[in-house]
Symmetry: C2
Subunit: 477 residues, 2 copies
């Protein structure tokens, strides 16, 4: 593997400097490039192809639950943004404002959507009249803008891609049910497709979405022990409906306000994949979303028959997303590059392999090599991809479990935060003062009140008063 | 059909007022809704599903030619937009300007992309070094903003959805080849998928894209005899490369400028579909992009077994995009609604049909009814959809051919424009003065210099000097 060195040495080891490792990987695996606008990135083909696979999987799951896609304008008039008080307070400080159209100043300035609740509400107010019009189960795939001060590729950028689902229902119960349904859909997607275990729970009032009655979240643990909020689902109750006057005549002929939800996932997930599965050789992609699942690397490709055999194997493997690396680089460089790009399975085929009717399979996750008969290649590659998908999940789950701690006293809590990066499960009295204090003194925030509650102790880890909830805490991206 | 009246009467007849007919159809077929921002529309689920089908088909065709998708930021710093002189002159008067991020004024204002040549160039300048990096064959699906004064849903809106392909090549020949390749891809797509015949040709210098060396276009004729530019492909030569300093070291070790192209198609195509195929009963969708290809309408659905049979037929037809309309509306209303929405085939099934082991098929395009045995339903529906797709194309082509005229004198030209809406083929000397004069006096613009040239006469239809080109002229959207 001596030839690989050049490429591998190009990235910092994750143990030396995790943040630098991350930046190196997104660049060297060619996921992004920086742009001329600070905080906005170019998502390069290899990065975008991951997003396309995420979209395809999520979109299919949404549609199976009756969701329809549509498209809302990207601009929100200032007066519209201001209609719901909590919402505008949450978002106004971080929106980009359009003040001129062509050479003329606008009569009213427009913000570039940071999220589209207000647009959907404006639309619903015109579009919903009767109980027959409900539920509305809408989603859009688009980009949104939030003028963040500190930015990092995928994790926090001024523009990012996402989907935002927005639904309207006749009853509070139905809205709550949909909120939970979408959170569970997100969690299953993360675990089954991204091979990333998540904690499902509810945000505290301090951490909930601007304008929501309740925000539910899935929280994942990155390799460095920091948490990443990976998807949220909000129940708005009838708060927005009252602010925007969205009423319908119900079966009993009475005018009622609708109950709404919204839920979103973003390109941030790509950052999560990198930080959950990556290693010192670069990216490690779960087969389910890897743009290339199998790369075939011909060895001594100048020898007669080698390249032809490689193309033949590509046809044999056409059930998978497969590529032949027939560039004029050395095999060692190609091996190293396929690792950097996180391709789950590498097939190596040279003159001797051909003679023996076999090929070498190399797993990206464990680097394990096996020799397989060419007649078995198709089946073995399929099995290996399944195994890798499963193994990545198990490995990430083991890592998360090994980095999940409990604390019953503030001292223990503080010591754990500082010495053992990870999740801390600890009890909480329910008051924001304790939450604020914990954040101020330790840098850890409440990640969620998990659906699966445990009784760690009976007292708040901060104030010692009777506890009402068990909370996952942690430093977070 | 008496019961249908209510819905059908809701739209103006196309012969009475074509513009009003168009507006009625986009609203009543639930393709769009107006929004709180003038000139920006909500694309509703039925409209967006058409766009999704267009995307799926086009994207597949792009990828087959080696194109990769990526994503560029939506903002362009003013200084970047200004780098290519012709380009900024063409676009600056119609862009939306962001001047504030959150509460702070920006140091440099940013425009919301009206098109992304400058962003791609900025990226290429960093990303292209050697001939090994070429060609770059990139595309993005996104929304763009052009601050138009007069707007119409799909046809001209301040924000619209599109794809923009951007490629960079080592030689001028390769760039020209790609420009033509993509134009032909667009034309084939329009004819095969949208059932819309197009004229392929080159734009005059006056009509070409800001910054392009050559612009190629496909032009379609709408039902009212007005032309619609339906897709364009531009060859930039090395103009942008010089402005942005995009050089590569070639095989001969010399630094050379790349040659670039760009090409785009937009949600405008949905407007084209409406205006080419629609009729006084509403939308008529080509089966290839119809979100619902077959609607099953149960008749006397309250009778035992009818709804069950309808669901059974849905399973039989599961190779198609099929729906059962089991709402509590009357069958007549459902018939009318399926016509308004342009669903290609309607299957009517009632108690007597079930008794006889048959169903009634109704074509949206010709309203023709046939009775088919249930055992044959699957096959017959497939055949019918193929036939409708073919028939729509033939019908549109016949309409276009019947509305394509020639003129050899200015008087004839003027009379034709005023009395016979359609394309006019006429000779042109090649100077812009004649082009300007024709536009000023008749309202007709040069649509394109078609690849298939004909010799209508040997003199310019305007000035009488020797002609160099045959041009398609017409009033246009």
């Amino acid at each position: 593997m001596a030839k690989d060195k050049k490429l591998v040495e190009a990235i910092t080891s994750m143990d030396v400097d995790f943040a630098q490792w991350y930046t190196d990987v997104v660049k060297k695996a060619e996921l992004i490039d920086y742009s001329s606008v600070k905080g906005c990135m170019v998502i390069k083909p290899d990065g975008y192809a991951i997003w396309e696979n995420i979209q395809k999987e999520l979109d299919k799951r949404f549609k199976e639950t009756g969701v329809q896609n549509l498209y809302m304008p990207m601009f929100i008039p200032e007066s519209l943004l201001e209609k719901e008080k909590d919402h505008v307070e949450g978002f106004a400080p971080e929106v980009a404002w359009v003040t001129h159209g062509g050479l003329e100043p606008l009569q009213e300035r427009l913000c570039v959507r940071p999220t589209s609740e207000t647009l959907f509400c404006d639309f619903y107010a015109r579009d919903i009249h009767s109980y027959r019009d409900l539920p509305k189960l809408y989603n859009q795939w688009c980009s949104v803008v939030r003028w963040e001060k500190t930015t990092r590729p995928f994790l926090r950028s001024r523009e990012f891609l996402w989907q935002e689902g927005h639904t309207a229902h006749a009853t509070a119960e139905e809205a709550e049910e949909r909120t939970i349904q979408m959170l569970n859909l997100y969690a299953d997607f993360c675990e089954q497709v991204l091979a990333m275990p998540v904690i499902r729970g509810r945000k505290t009032d301090k951490e909930k979405f601007a304008g929501a009655e309740a925000t539910y979240t899935i929280e994942a643990l990155m390799h460095d022990g920091k948490a990443l909020q990976s998807g949220t689902s909000h129940n708005f109750g009838d708060g927005f409906a009252k602010a925007f006057d969205i009423q319908f005549s119900d079966k009993d002929n009475k005018l009622k306000y609708v109950h709404q939800t919204s839920w979103g996932m973003t390109t941030r997930l790509i950052g999560a994949i990198i930080m959950v599965h990556g290693d010192d050789n670069g990216l490690v992609l779960p087969p389910a979303i890897a743009p290339t699942q199998v790369v075939i690397v011909p060895v001594q490709q100048q020898k007669a028959g080698v390249l032809d055999k490689a193309y033949e194997l590509r046809d044999v493997l056409s059930n998978f997303r497969v590529k032949v690396d027939d560039s004029d680089k050395s095999p060692g460089w190609k091996f190293s590059e396929s690792e950097m790009r996180g391709i789950p399975v590498r097939v190596e085929i040279g003159p001797r392999d051909i003679e023996n009717g076999q090929a070498v399979l190399v797993r990206r996750d464990t680097h394990e090599k096996t020799t397989v008969a060419l007649s078995q290649l198709d089946v073995k590659v399929g099995e290996l991809l399944d195994e890798i998908q499963k193994h990545l999940f198990e490995k990430a789950k083991a890592h998360r479990d090994a980095h999940t701690y409990t604390a019953t006293t503030f001292e223990e809590f503080e010591k754990t935060v500082n010495e053992k990066p990870g999740f801390i499960k600890a009890m909480w009295c329910g008051c924001q003062e304790c939450e604020d204090k914990i954040k101020e003194l330790t840098g850890a925030t409440s990640r969620c009140m998990p659906f699966k509650q445990e009784q760690i102790s009976d007292k708040c880890v901060c104030c010692g008063k009777p506890a009402t909830k068990m909370v996952y805490w942690g430093r977070a991206y």
